[in-house]
C-alpha cells in the first residue's frame, strides 16, 4: 500500500524541506521505495538539500502538463537507490500547477512508490492546498513559538476541509513534528514547551527535532541530515520519527542538554 504524506506548516522557514529530505531518506534507509516531491514551484529548494540541483532536467510542471514523462523527470539519489526526487520548476509559478494533471501524476507515483512525500510551500494559498490535496497523512512541522503554532492550527483546519480525503468524508491522519527545539530556551520560558504546543494543536506527536547546527551544515553540503551525519541528534530524532511513521513504537526521547553535547562531540568528528 503506498502512502502520500504531505509535509506542511503554514509558516515559512520552520523546516519543511529539511524534514521532507530527512524523513524521505530515513524511510528509504528502512528499505522503502520513496519519492520526495517538491511542490514549491518557483522557489524550489528540495533539489539543493538532496544535492541534485545540477541534475534537474524535467520537473513537476513538465510532467503535469504532459511535456515530459514521469521517468524523465524523476532523479534517483546517488546514495540510496530506492530514493527519488521529483523537483519543482524554478522558472514557473504556482498557477502552472493544474489539478487534473496532478491527480494523474499522483496515481502514477502511487503505482511505483511506497511513500510519496510532498514538500509543501509555505502559506495557505493554491500551492499549499494542491500539495495537501491528495495526502493520506500529514506531517505538520511546527517550531515551539506562538506564530508557528497558530499557523499550524490554521493548516490543520485546511487539512480537514480542503483535501480530497476530507471531501469524501474521510480524515487525513495527522502527525506533529516539533523542530528547532531548544531545551534550555524552553526551560527559560523563551520558547513554548512541548506540552503547551500539544495542548493547543491536539495532534499526536511524531517527534521532536533539536535545534542543531548539523541541520544547516547538512543543507549546505546538499545532504539530508539523516545521511550527512546519522549519529547526530537531529538525524537520530528524524530516524525515530520515520520509524514511528512506519508504525513502530519508539520511545519518545525529548532532547535534553545531554543530546546537544553528544551532537557536538559527533559533529566535531564528522566535520
Amino acid at each position: 500500500m503506498s502512502k502520500v504524506i504531505v509535509v506542511t506548516s503554514g509558516k515559512g522557514g520552520v523546516g519543511k524541506t529539511t524534514t521532507t529530505a530527512a524523513l524521505g531518506s530515513a524511510l528509504a534507509m528502512h528499505g522503502k521505495s520513496v519519492v520526495v516531491v517538491d511542490f514549491d514551484v518557483g522557489l524550489r529548494n528540495l533539489d539543493l538539500i538532496m544535492g541534485a540541483e545540477r541534475r534537474v532536467v524535467y520537473d513537476l510542471i513538465n510532467v503535469t502538463q504532459n511535456q515530459a514523462k514521469l521517468h524523465q523527470a524523476l532523479i534517483r539519489d546517488k546514495r540510496l537507490e530506492n530514493l527519488w526526487l521529483l523537483p519543482a520548476s524554478q522558472t514557473r509559478d504556482k498557477d502552472s500547477l493544474n489539478e487534473k494533471g496532478l491527480g494523474r501524476l499522483m496515481k502514477e507515483l502511487k503505482a511505483q512508490f511506497d511513500f510519496i512525500i510532498c514538500d509543501s510551500p509555505a502559506g495557505i494559498e493554491r500551492g499549499a492546498i494542491l500539495a495537501m490535496r491528495h495526502a493520506d497523512e500529514a506531517v505538520i512541522v511546527t517550531n515551539p513559538e506562538v506564530s508557528s503554532v497558530r499557523d499550524s492550527d490554521r493548516i490543520i483546519g485546511l487539512l480537514d476541509s480542503k483535501t480530497e480525503k476530507a471531501e469524501k468524508g474521510g480524515k487525513v491522519e495527522k502527525h506533529l513534528l516539533i523542530t528547532r527545539y531548544d531545551q534550555s530556551r524552553a526551560g527559560r520560558g523563551d520558547m513554548l514547551k512541548i506540552d503547551d504546543v500539544l495542548e493547543i494543536l491536539l495532534v499526536p506527536l511524531l517527534g521532536v527535532i533539536p535545534e542543531s547546527e548539523q541541520v544547516l551544515r547538512a543543507s549546505n553540503i546538499g545532504q539530508p541530515v539523516t545521511l550527512a551525519n546519522p549519529m547526530s541528534a537531529p538525524a537520530r530524532a528524524y530516524s525515530d520519527a520515520a520509524r514511528r511513521l512506519l508504525g513502530e513504537a519508539v520511545a519518545m526521547n525529548v532532547p535534553h542538554e545531554r543530546y546537544n553535547l553528544i551532537s557536538r562531540i559527533f559533529g566535531g568528528r564528522a566535520a
Binding site: 489539478e99 495557505i124 493554491r126 492546498i129 494542491l130 497558530r150 499557523d151 492550527d153 490554521r154 490543520i156 483546519g157 485546511l158 480537514d160 476541509s161 480542503k162 471531501e167 495542548e199 493547543i200 491536539l202
Partner: protein, 241 residues
C-alpha cells in the same frame, strides 16, 4: 474597569433590503433593469440592495462583470450572495449561510465552479424568533481561521476554540475545552445568552452586543473554568464550577 467602554455596543440587527436575482441570460435581464430604472429612477434610490447570483451561476470574471454593471447604475450594493466569497471584494462578501460550514474552504474554487445554491440566512429575512431554539453540537476543535456562525440557537463544542477562531451563536455557547478565540453569544438580541468554557483564555467575548477584550479580563481568570453573562448592561466573567 472603564464604564465608557462598556456603553459601546455591537448589535446584530435585521432590516429589509432589496434582493436582485438576475436570471440568465444576463444581458436581457440587465436591459429589463435599465428600462425599470429609466421610468422609476427613485425606485432603488439609497436603498440597500443584495445581489443574488445563484441562478446565474457565474464564473469569477462574470461575477465581477455583473457587480460592475450593477454598481455602474448607481445601485447601493451591500452584499453578493450565491458565489464564492473570494470572487468579490471583502466589502461585498457573500452573506453567511445557516449554519456556516466549518472551514472556509470551497474545493470548487480550484476549478472556478460556483458553489451550489444553499439556503441562507440573509439580512433580507427576519429570523423567526418564535421557533423553538435549535442547537448545534461540534465534536471537533475549532482551528485558527475557522468561523462558525449559528444564529438559530446554542452551540456546544467538545474541544477547544483556537486563537484566531470564532463562534457566533444566537443562543448560548458551551465549550468543553479551552476558549482561546472569540465568542459571540446572543447575536439575535438575546441578553440571557451565556458563554461557558472549561479553560478561559479568550481574545474577545460578546453577549448581545456588549463586549470585553482580553485586556479587560481579570488575569486571575486565565485558565479557569468560567461563565460570562450579562448583568443589566455589564458583561460579567466569573469562575464557574
Amino acid at each position: 474597569m472603564s464604564t465608557s467602554r462598556m456603553s459601546l455596543r455591537l448589535l446584530g440587527r435585521s432590516y429589509l433590503a432589496f434582493v436582485l436575482a438576475p436570471d440568465p441570460p444576463f444581458d436581457e435581464w440587465l436591459a429589463e433593469l435599465d428600462a425599470r430604472l429609466l421610468h422609476q429612477s427613485a425606485f432603488f434610490s439609497n436603498r440597500p440592495v443584495i445581489l443574488d447570483l445563484a441562478a446565474l451561476s457565474p464564473t469569477m470574471a462574470e461575477t465581477q462583470h455583473v457587480v460592475a454593471a450593477i454598481e455602474s447604475r448607481g445601485l447601493r450594493l451591500v452584499a453578493v450572495e450565491g458565489v464564492n466569497a473570494d470572487w468579490v471584494s471583502p466589502r461585498l462578501a457573500p452573506l453567511p449561510g445557516t449554519p456556516m460550514p466549518i472551514g472556509m474552504f470551497n474545493p470548487r474554487e480550484l476549478d472556478n465552479k460556483p458553489p451550489p445554491r444553499q439556503s441562507r440566512f440573509s439580512l433580507a429575512e427576519k429570523p423567526d424568533l418564535n421557533k423553538p431554539a435549535a442547537s448545534l453540537l461540534v465534536e471537533e476543535p475549532l482551528r485558527s481561521g475557522q468561523s462558525l456562525i449559528f444564529p438559530q440557537g446554542d452551540v456546544t463544542v467538545i474541544g477547544s476554540v483556537a486563537s484566531g477562531a470564532e463562534i457566533a451563536a444566537g443562543g448560548s455557547i458551551h465549550i468543553y475545552g479551552a476558549l482561546r478565540g472569540r465568542a459571540f453569544a446572543g447575536t439575535n438580541g438575546n441578553a440571557k445568552a451565556r458563554i461557558f468554557c472549561n479553560r478561559f483564555d479568550a481574545e474577545l467575548l460578546v453577549i448581545d452586543g456588549l463586549y470585553k477584550t482580553a485586556d479587560d479580563f481579570d488575569p486571575a481568570l486565565r485558565g479557569a473554568q468560567v461563565q460570562a453573562r450579562l448583568d443589566r448592561d455589564v458583561l460579567n466573567v466569573e469562575v464557574f464550577h
